[in-house]
């Protein structure tokens, strides 16, 4: 198992390296990086200064060397708009993002798991079709449109919920649903297929042969096993949620990392955009690694 973890760690490091190279190269090879790295409306002299400061006239490997050393020191650059270090900005917004992603995750699990189970237990019946339609709609309705529709209905027509901002629990309801919607569909699909697999297993058959009530067979023997892949996916999805929340956060003016990214675009604040992508990618790589390690620890049957 130690070898396995080390190997996974090595892969993740390679991924992080390639990630930084990718971002670095994209900034350099597409046009003049100085234009991106300088504040909008800067003079020719400012451009020249930036070229000097970032060593943009030096060979690429040298440039990359200084790029990666600043990153490793936690220096992601300075926001043009907020005039503060980007990492600080990012970290100050992260709790809001995590709150939203957490709420969206709760919503997606509360909806996805029970419907997935029902769809699995009642195979090929009415419920299963309803579940399929629900899953398809989930995958076909853009989250920001779901958000806009909810604002129209619950804020404008009914006046029940605030249409934007943050602060109270009520503010959280619609963004969480809009963001969690797609994931609810995904979690439902996975719960269903995982549950179907478990229900066909020998140990579930043996549980029935023991004379256990069907409710106990499903809730104890099938459910727990079926949940493992769903929770694994949920762990990864939580991080993905933080990163795809940009549209939903924009719709609801939710002050998370996604909104920061949107501001980065709107104010042409390139360091912010670059840092958000880098940190988002790194987060996903790291969580994937953690999930794999956790799996290996929890489930000793995994010995690659």
């Amino acid at each position: 198992m130690k070898g396995y973890i080390l190997r996974r760690l090595g892969y993740s490091l390679v991924s992080l390296f390639l990630l930084s190279v990718t971002i670095f190269l994209f900034v350099r090879v597409t046009g003049d990086p100085a234009v991106l790295l300088v504040e909008p409306g800067a003079s020719k002299d400012d451009l020249e200064m930036i070229r000097q400061q970032f060593g943009l006239d030096q060979p690429l490997p040298v440039q990359y060397g200084s790029f990666i050393t600043s990153l490793l020191r936690g220096d992601f650059g300075q926001s043009f708009y907020y005039r503060t270090p980007v990492l600080e900005l990012y970290l100050s917004r992260l709790p809001h993002s995590l709150l939203l992603a957490g709420a969206a995750m709760v919503f997606s699990l509360v909806v996805g798991i029970p419907t997935g189970i029902i769809a699995a237990v009642r195979v090929n019946r009415w419920w299963d079709s309803v579940g399929k339609i629900f899953a398809l709609l989930g995958l076909s309705m853009p989250s920001f449109w779901v958000g806009l529709l909810m604002i129209l209905f619950f804020s404008v027509y009914l006046g029940w919920l605030p249409s934007s901002g943050s602060g109270t629990l009520l503010h959280l309801v619609m963004p969480a649903i809009a963001l969690g919607w797609v994931f609810a569909a995904a979690h439902m699909r996975l719960t269903r297929s995982s549950m179907l697999e478990v229900l066909g297993s020998e140990y579930v058959k043996l549980a029935r042969l023991k004379g256990l009530p069907e409710a106990l067979v499903i809730s104890k023997h099938a459910f727990k096993n079926a949940l493992i892949p769903v929770l694994t996916l949920a762990g990864i999805n939580l991080v993905i949620m933080v990163n795809v929340a940009v549209v939903v956060e924009t719709v609801f003016a939710w002050p998370g990392v996604g909104r920061l990214l949107y501001e980065g675009i709107a104010f042409r604040d390139f360091p912010v955009v670059q840092a958000t992508v880098l940190l988002g990618g790194a987060m996903i790589v790291i969580v994937n690694l953690l999930v794999d390690i956790l799996y290996a620890v929890i489930d000793p049957r995994i010995r690659y």
Binding site: Y11, V14, S15, L18, L19, T22, I23, F26, V27, T30, G31, L36, L136, L137, L139, S140, M141, P142, F144, W145, L148, L149, I151, L152, S155, V156, Y157, S163, I240, N243, V244, V246, V247, T250, V251, L261, Y262, G264, I265, A266, F270, V273, Q274, T276, V277, G280, G281, I284, V285, N288
Partner: protein, 294 residues
């Protein structure tokens, strides 16, 4: 007369036969209709989609109180005809969606074949790169690229292709690994064909089905991403009509309850994506049972 009738009958019979195999008639019809609307947008749209009449701002659809026959589906905040914008928006969606899927499919398939067939360090490099790009959150990555190259329809296509080729590379590589063990490839090797000839003539035809299935399944994702980028202002630049952009504009009338500016463009996106997903699902089961677990 007789001939054309029997031709119609044959066609109907064919469609019926398709139906029994679960062919998604309605989704296909929707995609074809949207494609036709996109092609004939100039003839179909009653107004110029980019020019508005400021006196006619926020007109509701014709059937609602305050609506007028002039604007069947109402107008937006600049007094532009919503119907005309939806029609031309179809053109943008189709062009961006199909081109991006084809370009991404091309890149991914080529890299997948090279990676799978050549193996060794080439495979290692390409697959590590694929993994890394897969790890990048697609939307954030696309926004980053858009921020670098600036908004335009062409750039959107390039960006979406750059973000979405990875899926093809992964799947196609897997297929190539099994195809290259088959007898006709071995024979070709023995016959002294060059690696490139083998990849082009023997491997490619055997994985093209999977690429098409994947492409159909990705069409929906690509359309949604384009809409999201346009909605955020880094996609199709205004005043061009795109469904995502219309949703962003629609926000200006949202609090006033001007529902048509939000409901109509979103419904178009949803219908397109839903249709692509249904068609893709069918193709997947039909042509490529191995892809079922995707």
């Amino acid at each position: 007369m007789n001939d054309s009738r029997s031709a119609t009958l044959t066609l109907a019979w064919r469609l019926a036969a398709f139906r029994t195999e679960g062919f998604p008639v309605i989704p296909t019809a929707i995609i074809v209709t949207v494609a036709l609307v996109a092609i004939f947008a100039d003839a179909l749209a009653p107004y110029n989609p980019e020019l508005g009449t400021l006196g006619d701002r926020f007109r509701p659809p014709a059937w609602q109180a305050g609506g007028s026959e002039k604007y069947l589906l109402g107008t937006d905040h600049l007094g532009r005809d919503v119907l005309s914008r939806l029609i031309f928006g179809a053109r943008v969606s189709m062009i961006v969606g199909f081109t991006a899927v084809i370009v991404a499919g091309f890149i991914g398939t080529v890299l997948g074949i090279i990676s799978g067939y050549l193996g060794r360090w080439v495979d290692q490099v390409i697959m590590r790169l694929t993994d890394t790009w897969l790890a990048l959150p697609a939307l954030t990555f696309a926004i980053f690229l858009a921020a670098i190259v600036g908004p335009s329809v062409n750039n959107i296509i390039i960006i979406l292709a750059a973000v979405y080729w990875t899926r093809y590379a992964r799947v196609i590589r897997g297929e190539v690994l099994s195809v290259k063990e088959r007898d006709f490839v071995r024979l070709a090797v023995v016959a002294g064909c060059s690696k490139w000839t083998i990849m082009r003539r023997h491997i490619l035809p055997n994985v093209v089905n999977s690429a098409i299935v994947l492409g159909t399944l990705q069409l929906g994702v690509v359309i949604i991403t384009e809409a999201a980028l346009s909605f955020l202002g880094v996609g199709v630049p205004p005043p061009q009509p795109a469904w995502g952009l219309m949703l962003a504009d629609g926000k200006k009338g949202l609090m006033a309850g001007y529902w048509w500016l939000t409901v109509l463009p979103g419904s178009c996106i949803m219908l397109m994506v839903l249709s692509a997903n249904l068609l893709g699902d069918w193709l997947r089961v039909k042509f490529d049972p191995q892809l079922r677990q995707l």
